[in-house]
Amino acid sequence: MSGADGRLFRLLKRAVDIRPEETGVVVRMFFHFFLITFTAYVIKPVKLSLYLTFLTADRLPYAYLLTALLMGLAVSLNSRLLSRLNRRAYISWSLLFFMGNLLVFRWLFGFHWPWVSMLFWFWSDLFIVTAVMQFWMAVNDRFHPRQARRLVGFFVSGGLWGGVAGALVASRLVRLIGTENLLLVCPAFLAGAFVLVRHRDAAGQPEESEAAPENASAPKKTGYAGSFRILRRSRYLRLLAALVAAGIVVTTLVDFQFSSAVEAALPLKDARTSFLGTFFLGLLVFSTLLHHLLSGRILKRYGILAALIIPPAVLFLGSAAVFFVPAGSLLWWAVPVKGLDKSLTHTINQSVRELLYIPVPADEKYKAKAFIDMFVNKFADGLAAVMLLALPLSLKGVSGLTAFFCLAWAALAALITKEYAEVVKRHLKIQWEDADRLILDRIDVDTTQLVFDTLESRGRSSVLYAMNLYELIRRERLTPELRKIIAQRSGELRAGAMDSLLDVDGEPLFPDTDDVLPEETLDAQVREILDLGVYRQVMGRYLEDVAKEAGPNSETARMEAAKALGLMDPGSPLARNLAKFLRDESPEVAVYALRSAGQLKRRDLLPPVLSCLSRPALSQAAVLALTEYGDRIVGALKDYLADPEEDLRIRRLLPDVLARIGTQRAADALLSEFRKAGSRFEAELIEALAKLKVSRPEIRFDETVVLEGVKRQLRTAYGDLERYHDLKPGGKKEGRRRDLELMLFKTVKSIFALLGLIYPPEDIRRAYQNLLAGTKKAIDYSVELLDSLLHKDIKPFLLPMVEDLPLDEKAKSAGRILKALNKASAS
């Protein structure tokens, strides 16, 4: 960046959230819009004043109607030009065309033909719609959604200042040179816009050609029918068209009332032009204030819905006010209502409408935008005109009609806001499945473990092998595929002493022959035997003896005993022996005992099972055993988790157990612990909460607690970012910087895990994965989705953290954001 550009950037940075590389193009586009609206605001008072002079307000509906009808043809012509010219040529030639037209109109007005004012009415509408549309098309071409969202407000203010200047010139100059001669001022300003367009397109190249087809030819077929088909296919675009139409109908009705009032109050042409110029000036000053003070804040703080609802709501109230105004003071009512309509249209409504186009695919956007801006606009004008011509309405009657359309407009605003989030989502693909989800969907961990045990036990003990196989049968997991796997492995392990008994005619256990017990008979028989009093008598003695043994020689016997106890009835007195095996020195024995404990779910075994969490070799089996206990032990686990006296190694694993239990009570227990700020297990708790949500999407989490947690994480992240900012790159502390980067990455991951608890997890996953994808477009859409999804309390703090900026840039504002976050949390 050159020195001049750097200074310009720093200057602009005070007014707009701009990036250094955007400086040049943003300045040129700001002035492009300034010059367009300057011209428009010189033309506007001239147009209305001359029409009222030659044709009167009563004939205004004809002008609306004619414009509406001819604008259809203009749309068609515009489509053809789009298909034949590239974007740069299209905009340039349009500007030259309009410059020439202005000179011709000045000449024609010299003849005082009434039809010229009708034709000029149509022409000025065509100019304003075309030039403004071309500008916004250029914005859409050039910028990604998130960029556009940052810059749209700045461009709108360029338009507002252009309008203010144009209206000021019109109101002052008209008294010196007359209404018609104002038209001679305009071509000079359009020439300036022409130069900027040529220079901008020559200087700036878009980052991603896909999103900026300015230098490419426009889509091949963009005719009226094609544009209409695109609209018909898309519910979102239909809603957008209807929203625009409702707003335009209201604007046209308000314009009619205002023009009638002006005609009645100001009969002299130049005085009227001057008044209109002053009115537009006041209007734009008001709009500018409104834009700077409210527009951005409303969008940022309350989102699109609020910004869309405000204009119809205000105009509804304004229209209703006519019923309380005396007939002689109608101009005093018409001026503020018209002022409100126009100022809201120029600020909040325009900003939001342009945002609404952003998630539409580029190829559809141009066609749909051209159709809506040029055809739907005028169709709505025509509809308003037909209603004015067909219905014999007084000014108050027109106000009733306006109020009705305001309500329809508000309803459409609500509908399109809902649809907006959906359209943004469709741009973001889920790129990979969550690991937890994959495991849950595709792998039965318990069965896998059992199959492994079955194969492993075959070489160690035929009793263990038989018991493991039996358990597979009992769980109905001995599928034909699994039989095959076990049979293959059995072939490798024929050394076992009981092979001849376990195999039937050389086949592995449980082949499909009549020579073995049917699986259901086997299960019934085993259960009956285990319940026999004599069995308990016989085995009681044996198990007690085995439990007393220690050392490697009796390890297999202890494993068998631990396994067998799990097959018994939980109420069996023999099951008490399991406590000894849970404390067995051999991890293999203890693992079998843990599995049996999970099957029996005896409360008296809970303390020794929990103790196993502290033994690294047993912790995973202990987690699974506790999970088997299920919801009934959630209260006990919660107490253990909260008890600072308990072994840390045990407490650290309890979130995972609760996540696996996966009930609402388990979720509440996790959240209750998470609520405590500064918990030692915050990372484990977040991971467990996210895991639980993946496995049980129906579980609900207290939004307030989760949002508080998100803010806590954000504070951690901004704290790290602040420290990162304090460390100079490349120095001795480069390692520390990298550590902070890693910590930041983990914290952001935790934030998204928490967001997935209270927002649709699919959307959050989409947003997170697209952020990680790291392309500008993916990040922009991702941020856009988050913006439409998240609670207003966290948006201002989360979005700066994830937006597409170098970490050093983000770090610069970390301190400020952290301060604001602390302030927000304190309040």
């Binding site: 009981m498 008994l501 073995v516 086997l522 028989q525 035997i529 069995y535 016989v538 068998e560």
Partner: protein, 115 residues
């Protein structure tokens, strides 16, 4: 169920035939027959299941009750020629760890003599 008794080298051998079920009504149960022998002072019992086609949990209970009675009097009860199916059930229930089970009658008899 049909149970025949024979003796060899001070060992009482019960040859069991047919099906051992709860629903079968026999004059004497296996356990009663074993107890009779224990009362007579015969403490070496071998149960030969060679011709047993089916045995349910009741039958297993009879074997276990016989085992306990013999064991309590300091005697020995051994089993020979049980089916693969029953052996599998005994393995699953871990009874193979307590009961002495032999593939052949001869090896079972030899084991009595060795002790």
């Amino acid at each position: 169920m049909d149970i025949k008794k024979r003796e060899k080298d001070d060992i009482t051998i019960f040859d069991i035939q047919g099906e051992i079920r709860r629903t079968d009504i026999a004059e004497s149960t296996l356990h009663e027959l074993v107890k009779d022998q224990l009362d007579l002072g015969k403490k070496h019992i071998l149960l030969n299941f060679d011709k047993v086609e089916f045995i349910d949990s009741f039958g297993v209970g009879e074997i276990l009750a016989s085992y306990i009675s013999t064991h309590n009097l300091g005697g020995q009860l051994k089993i020979a020629r049980i089916s693969k199916k029953l052996f599998l059930v005994f393995q699953i229930t871990m009874l193979t760890k307590v009961l002495e089970i032999f593939d052949e009658e001869e090896s079972a008899l030899q084991s009595f003599l060795k002790e």
